[in-house]
């Protein structure tokens, strides 16, 4: 792990948080703040324990990344927060189909999009990402399955600790699971 890579990701995180703050405020029609509380570089195996235990039920918005940064990104929060915030987002709408999951997926998509944009700007590469999927299971089951997709190469993952103000979602994590070790230019 290189110190300058962490510094680039830290700067990218602030840029991503600012973009997510504006986009979520627009979507929800009130002021929402997204803050980066911290950034950790971790071994993939260590992530579930450090994020509160393998058994915790979570909602995860997962997207595959392409281009200058191959791998995955996962926006994860406790399931109870995901339920609360998605209900708030769809307030007043009829509960048709998977509208609640769609609402949470859109929220995750906004956070992921802004952070990936921040990372692309700061590393100086073009990054695209697939339409996000939503997963609901234990943290261990979700992360094992994601890490397994890249683990032959992946030795370090990066975890942004996020906090929110103005919404029912208090805390969440954005995890970057690169297929290869990232290096600064």
């Amino acid at each position: 792990m290189r110190e300058d890579m962490l510094e680039l990701l830290r700067r990218a995180g602030y840029e991503g948080a600012l973009g997510a703050t504006n986009a979520l405020s627009n979507m929800l029609g009130r002021k929402v703040y997204v803050n980066v509380l911290g950034l950790l570089a971790l071994l993939p195996e260590d992530i579930p324990e450090i994020l509160g235990g393998r058994e915790k039920h979570v909602a995860c918005v997962l997207s595959r990344l392409h281009g200058g940064y191959e791998g995955f990104t996962a926006f994860i929060c406790p399931l109870r927060y995901a339920v609360k915030i998605s209900l708030r987002i769809i307030e007043g709408l009829p509960p048709v189909g998977d509208i609640q999951e769609d609402a949470f997926r859109e929220l995750g998509n906004i956070v992921i999009g802004n952070f990936i944009s921040g990372i692309a700007n700061n590393i100086g590469v073009k990054i695209t990402y697939d339409e996000p999927l939503i997963l609901i299971d234990t943290l261990g089951a979700v992360l094992d399955s994601v890490i397994a997709l890249v683990s032959d190469e992946c030795e370090v993952c990066y975890v942004y600790y996020l906090s929110f103000e103005g919404v029912d979602l208090k805390k969440a994590k954005l995890i970057l699971i690169p297929k290869v070790v990232l290096h600064a230019p």
């Binding site: 579930p48 058994e55 609640q100 299971d137 979700v142 094992d144 994601v146 890490i147």
Partner: protein, 170 residues
């Protein structure tokens, strides 16, 4: 004593459990409870020698290593090499191949849209390696879409499995 699968809604007896995380294995005697929580596409491998009250639980992430990753630390990530390590540990503790039986749990397809089939490949690789060792599989509980929690009582060979999938947001 033989390995027995007990499917339950929830695992409640957690006091004194020894947790086995990704890329780890633990082997113990007698009144020992080994557990792995939130198993997704990973596969839990249980080896058991009921006559000696000796058993082990491993948690593998991937099917088999490419050669450059076949170092000790990485070997525990893979089903095939993790089984090798577990078998050797069991033998070192007094067991014999003929007295061992195995169980395989996990290998779920938690991310259905990504066509990776890692769970299935984990199970196939583990079964193949157990066959090469000549260790019979007492039971397997693999596949599906849900994560699993696993608790293994070494003393009597009971293996409790609980599914973890929560349906949607409603």
């Amino acid at each position: 004593m033989h390995l027995r699968l007990m499917t339950v809604n929830r695992i409640t007896d957690r006091d004194g459990c020894i947790a086995v995380n990704i890329g780890e294995y633990k082997v113990g005697y007698g009144n020992v409870k080994l557990a792995t929580w939130g198993l997704g596409s990973c596969i839990a491998i249980i080896l058991y020698d009921g006559g000696r009250s000796l058993g082990g639980l491993g948690h593998a992430l991937l099917p088999k290593p490419s050669s450059e990753h076949n170092t000790l630390n990485f070997r525990k990530r893979y089903a095939t090499t993790l089984i090798d390590l577990m078998v050797n540990r069991m033998i070192a503790l007094g067991s014999e191949i003929a007295d061992m039986e195995a169980a395989l749990i996990g290998g779920a397809r938690v991310i259905p849209n990504l066509n990776s089939h890692i769970g299935e490949r984990n199970a196939i690789a583990a079964k193949e390696r157990l066959r090469e060792w000549g260790i019979k599989i007492a039971f397997q509980d693999i596949g599906g879409r849900s994560g699993r929690n696993v608790l293994f009582y070494v003393r009597d060979g009971k293996v409790f499995v609980a599914y973890t999938l929560r349906k949607g947001f409603r």
